[in-house]
Symmetry: C2
Subunit: 335 residues, 2 copies
């Protein structure tokens, strides 16, 4: 156990060449099944572990994927990207691949420093988890290894992306409120902050247009500042009968704020959110929201990135994963 064991040692032990050992262990053709088994058993017994570096040096494949994520999403007290990250890593395992997480700090982002996983050739491809600044993305797009965006996309960019079908979901969710008799509907979310918020907003707007409801600009409420930090919500003078929030967390805050103002939810005011996160279930009332189908998004992302590694030319464009509306207790039918 303590002395090192490489393919050579196994070869010596069995009186064969290390070429045969290599073929046997990696399930390649060129060895009899009998020898293959013998090699595998011996490797096991001797406590052999393959040396990924040696393999990589030869094959020019690292068997690692980089997962890039802004520090603001990590310090956000939100578990959403954590579960995404976990799912990605679990799915990668089926491809014999590990996930190297790299945190992009505000400084790295503004100083335009490429990630270590790229600079040191540690990964075969990169998944960018959550939106980064345009400038940084433009830098990243010069990278020479496969890369995909997860949960956002960038206009003017040829990088493939996987997102929820935010536009259509925003439309459906707003339509649900209109169905329930609401016509004074506000949208909560900073529409320039991320592509998701913007698209959810535009879906909301589409539903208004289709139902001949005028867009009111004071019904579009900012929820975060330039750094992505949540800010105090400005409730419109004339209270809408319903709010479409861009995420459950803000829906949760809004409900508590309304309660504080003496407004009963959903009796006097309905609220819907997005993401089907913890916030939608710990809220009182529980929140009608959208399940983004993270599992499907992740499995798509992992499939795409591994295909791109094998065939970097292939283009997948913007992949939209459909979600599902989950109805809970925060919407009142006022028909």
């Amino acid at each position: 156990m303590t002395k090192k064991v490489s393919m050579s040692e196994i070869a010596n032990e069995l009186g064969i060449s290390k070429v045969s050992v290599s073929k046997a262990l990696s399930d390649k053709d060129g060895v009899s099944e009998e020898l293959r088994n013998k090699v595998k058993i011996t490797a096991q017994r001797m406590g052999y572990r393959i040396n990924n570096s040696a393999r990589s040096l030869k094959t020019d494949r690292q068997y690692n994927i980089g997962i890039l994520i802004s520090e603001k999403y990590v310090g956000d007290n939100e578990a959403y990207y954590f579960s995404v990250c976990g799912e990605i890593i679990k799915k990668l395992d089926a491809y014999g691949t590990s996930g190297i997480m790299e945190i992009i700090s505000a400084k790295t982002e503004s100083d335009l420093i490429l990630p270590r996983v790229y600079n040191e050739k540690k990964v075969d491809g990169i998944i960018v988890l959550g939106q980064l600044s345009s400038n940084y993305l433009i830098l990243l797009e010069k990278i020479t290894i496969p890369m995909i965006y997860f949960d956002f996309y960038r206009q003017d960019s040829k990088i493939d992306s996987i997102t929820a079908d935010n536009f259509y979901l925003g439309y459906q969710l707003t339509d649900l409120l209109i169905d329930r008799g609401h016509r004074d509907i506000a949208f909560v979310g900073s529409i320039r902050a991320t592509s998701s918020i913007q698209d959810r907003y535009l879906g909301y707007y589409k539903a208004l247009i289709e139902n001949n409801i005028a867009l009111k600009l004071d019904y579009v409420i900012e929820d975060r500042d330039d750094q992505g930090k949540f800010i105090e919500l400005e409730i419109p003078k004339n209270l809408p009968t319903a709010f479409v929030c861009n995420c459950d967390r803000v829906a949760f805050y809004l409900i508590n704020k309304l309660k504080g103002l003496g407004v009963k939810v959903p009796e006097e005011c309905s609220v819907v959110g997005f993401d089907n996160s913890l916030f939608s279930t710990i809220s009182n009332p529980t929140i009608t929201t959208v399940d983004n189908n993270v599992e499907k998004m992740v499995s798509t992302a992992v499939k795409v990135i591994s295909k791109k590694i094998n065939n970097p030319q292939k283009i997948y464009d913007r992949i939209l994963v459909p979600g599902t509306i989950i109805e809970r207790d925060s919407v009142k039918n006022i028909n």
Copy 2:
């Protein structure tokens, strides 16, 4: 940009040997400062990226740390380990090291399968984030690379660990309640689930003993099942005047449960938690809790693991990081 560039290409470009290039780029002795600068500038211009695999093969160092975490902590909707993970990765960066996250699934854990990062020699050391089953830990402890436990420890184990000073913090927090006049104090938490809960409980018990308060077994309330899933809390028939909860999340659930039963917090019943997590601030009332000083815990962990990589013999034992009590609005003085 498109054709590959290794140290040889840089050497050719400058008419020097690749040995000098290597020394220059890795800041080793043996080249003049003038040549070093010239090499660095040329490398930059040619878009050189070091090949970590080649370096690793030679130095037997991967410049990667494995971060092991159970899938149950990832799917838990809790951001605590996410922020820990993020902190670890940020701190590792200062050591020129990346973090490879590996999710230990329930199946991997019960089938006793060693992590890929170990089996494929991808890492120089391992940080285990959060408690795993004893059987799995016993397996892991046979590993031949440095390893530390974060946020828990195992009895009978020689693996170094970094934890909050849970015992003492449990004692202090309970003592605070006693100071405020409480004597009927319950503890909420499954005391066999993790070493943290157990130690917090024992600290609670110590405070009772020192103040001549009898331990009541129906005042020790389970909060999770064998899989770590939260269960319905059983409130004692005779309502205590205060509850010490093993974490903010359970404190949050408890407060909502008490409210549902018509019990006012803190007027009729005080509640304290642990972790200073999101739950302690979104609760109404906000929760008096303990800040575990994650930043200090992480910087200690990263320091220890890198020292162990350079000197595997060195023993650090159980390192306890002191925390701080944060007083908010969930405790009433009933003196």
